[in-house]
Amino acid sequence: MKRIKIFQWACVVLLVTGLVFWGCAKKEAEPLKIGGIFDITGPTSAVGKDYAQAAKDAERYINENGGINGRKIQLIANDYAYKIPEAVSLYKQYKDVDKVFVIQGWGTGDTNALKQQTNNDQIVYISASYDSNLNDPSKSPYNFYVGTSYSDAIRLAMKFVNDSFKEMFPDAGDRAPRVVFIYPDHPYGKAPIPAGKAMAKELGIEVGPDEIVGLRAIDATSQLLHLKEFDPDWAWVGGTTPSTSVVVKDTAKLNLRTKIISNCWGFDENILKLAGDAGNDRIYGMAPFAFWGEDVPGMKAAMETAKKSDPEGIHTVRYIQGWTAMMVMWEGLKRADKAGQLNGPGLKAALESLQDFNTGGLTAPVSFTPTDHRPNTALRIFQMSNNQLVPVKSVSIEREDRFLGW
């Protein structure tokens, strides 16, 4: 009985101190609130943690550099563990309680699930999902993202496969390149596949059977064994860095000659460590953003802020991705505030006024228009060689209307 009493008292004390603590914390001046939905503990946390940290650090940088024409911002960052229901619940909190009009979001599944609601509520939703489904303003006027869309990336990948085929596979003769698509059974993985297949068809590339490799996979041998018969030259992998490195290692283990081209979320500095020697001359990746520490003008601010918040922190391109999303939002907020329209529709209009907005080389110049939310259509293709990330080619695709929205 005594033990239980102590437990009960402990509960009461905890509750009271918690309430006091939090009552005090709430009494500061009201900054502009921004919702944040990030994955810190879920299946994409390997890439999500650094992204979220960048967003949080960018909040500090923005506040130290004048905020929104003097007003501070506050990013309410929460983890949703890549679960759609959690994202829906967080969205309700941001909308009803915090009354935000802009949210920094994360995944493809949840962004699409919330699409209808954010657009009805006129809340600008900047996602880390570069799903092409979100870039058609006639369907989702309040969705934005900064980064080359997955579908444009996969189209560029197909073009690259086709253009470099003769040079990279001299033994192949006159036959068409053979490509397979490997992706997780998840909206993120599935989103660009139709675009990739359509592009492959257009270019005359032979497409093999799809294989599913989950985001948390630790083994892909059975899926890769299925591919032996088709013997593809290239495999598109749409996963995150850990799952991509699993595919890379197992390809090497099975002695497949297939080269791998990965979506942007599957290719960062960590691939060097995770894939090891198996990755050399095997793994290629789409890189819409500058890698950590690259010599571009915009990198300095990010690196200094990161150092201030954690002197020993190790960061990757994911940090740059989160950082850039916040910087573009900042520019939009400043413009909206100048126009006296610091609200959802005002921010939307401000973002749509961005024309070749210079991110300091962190990503290709960003433009939005009221009829086209594709931020940019250019990226670089990197490969892993001698345990380093080496640029292969800068590529870009025309902003064609027929590619809008898928």
Binding site: R3, I4, F7, G18, F21, W22, A25, F38, I40, T41, K49, A52, Q53, K56, D57, E59, R60, Q74, I76, A77, N78, D79, A81, K83, I84, P85, V88, S89, K92, Q93, D96, V97, D98, G109, N112, A113, L114, Q116, Q117, D185, H186, P187, K190, S309, D310, G313
Partner: protein, 355 residues
């Protein structure tokens, strides 16, 4: 002054409201929930930092499901690890009938319950032969099979991208705000609680309890094991299906990710923490399981504003504390919150002469 509970008739023992006071309190609670709660929910939300109205709705939806599982696990003694998937069946049924079939909501919601009851009974068939852990594994199969169907039957379920659902209206009354939906949920929660409570006082309910306590004795007394086990699966799944239907139209989107194994386990946690075999258990357990993660978010948010440089760690910490609190609760409250509630109540009622 009472020093204990003394009944002279069996009818007294079976009463839902034992004293006048219980009845008065119950009415007071109902009036609070119907009239006052909407007024206090909004200002309190600003204080807590999360939407209380939304939480109340989620709690209501999950209470219905938890009642279902409590009937099966708490009262009939049949474990199920498939209730997460069954909830999904209800959600998809209602969503598809409503969005694609054009059914009115007042038909699609009961249809969700009925279809789920059917599915639940199919997966309940092994309960004739299997008990305990074996049954748990057999019902887990439901989780895999239904989960696979939800993910891959793309033409019907929209695949892994899920299905968008609209807010419904009932007889011309649009349930377009959280508050309006709250009343629908509240009425259904009251109805389902009353039904469960009364079911346990009938022949059927007593047969189920007899099966739980000792199935062999029950069979010797003439209880048809198969019939009642299957019935328990059916009613239980009906509850969960209705809760799934409510969930779909409330969240405006259904995807297979909602209805994973984790949800099944969460349901089990709700009834175990609340108290197996107590009607109140489903209610307390759900409130606990739904509110705790939200409450734990408050310190995380504050700490991440104070220490933005290590904020990623706090996100992880929240999950950890959540697990720890559940373990502590099971150690200190092994009979669940409902049992603790009864002890506290008896303590006050009988003070100072309790024995």
């Amino acid at each position: 002054m009472p020093t204990g509970l003394f009944y002279t008739k069996y009818q007294d023992d079976e009463k839902i409201f034992h004293t006048l006071w219980v009845k008065i309190w119950m009415w007071a609670l109902l009036i609070f929930l119907f009239v006052c709660f909407p007024f206090v929910a909004y200002p309190l939300s600003g204080f807590f930092g999360f939407s209380l109205q939304h939480m109340a709705n989620m709690i209501g939806i999950f209470i219905i499901g938890a009642h279902g599982l409590n009937l099966l696990t708490g009262f009939t003694g049949q474990i199920s690890l498939g209730h997460g998937a069954f909830m999904g069946v209800g959600a998809y049924t209602s969503a598809i009938l409503f969005m694609k079939g054009g059914w009115p909501f007042w038909l699609s919601l009961p249809a969700a319950g009925l279809v789920t009851a059917g599915v639940g009974m199919i997966f309940g068939v092994p309960s004739l032969r299997l008990r305990g852990l074996y049954l748990a594994i057999a019902t887990m199969a439901a989780q895999f099979i239904i989960g696979y169907a939800m993910r891959n039957w793309t033409s019907l379920t929209g695949g892994s991208a899920g299905l968008n659902v609209d807010r419904p209206s009932i007889f011309g009354f649009a349930l377009d705000t959280d508050l309006r939906y709250y009343y629908l949920i509240l009425i259904l929660v009251i109805f389902s609680t009353l039904f469960l409570k009364n079911l346990l006082r009938t022949k059927t309910g007593r047969a189920m309890v007899a099966i739980r306590d000792r199935y062999l004795s029950a069979e010797i007394m003439g209880v048809n094991l198969f019939k009642y086990r299957l019935l328990a699966f059916g009613i239980s799944s009906f509850y969960v299906g209705v809760s799934g239907g409510l969930f779909a139209h409330y969240n405006l989107v259904v995807s297979d990710e909602h209805f994973t194994m984790w949800l099944s386990i969460q349901y089990l946690a709700m009834v175990i923490i609340g108290g197996l075999g107590h009607v109140l258990g489903g209610i307390f357990g759900t409130i606990f399981m739904v509110l705790l993660p939200e409450l734990l978010r408050i310190p995380t948010e504050i700490l991440s504003n104070i220490y933005p440089n290590i904020f990623a760690i706090f996100g992880t910490l929240r999950e950890l504390v959540f697990g720890l609190v559940i373990i502590l609760f099971l150690i200190f409250e092994p009979d669940g919150l409902a049992a603790r509630w009864h002890t506290i109540r008896a303590y006050w009622k009988l003070w100072p002469f309790s024995y």
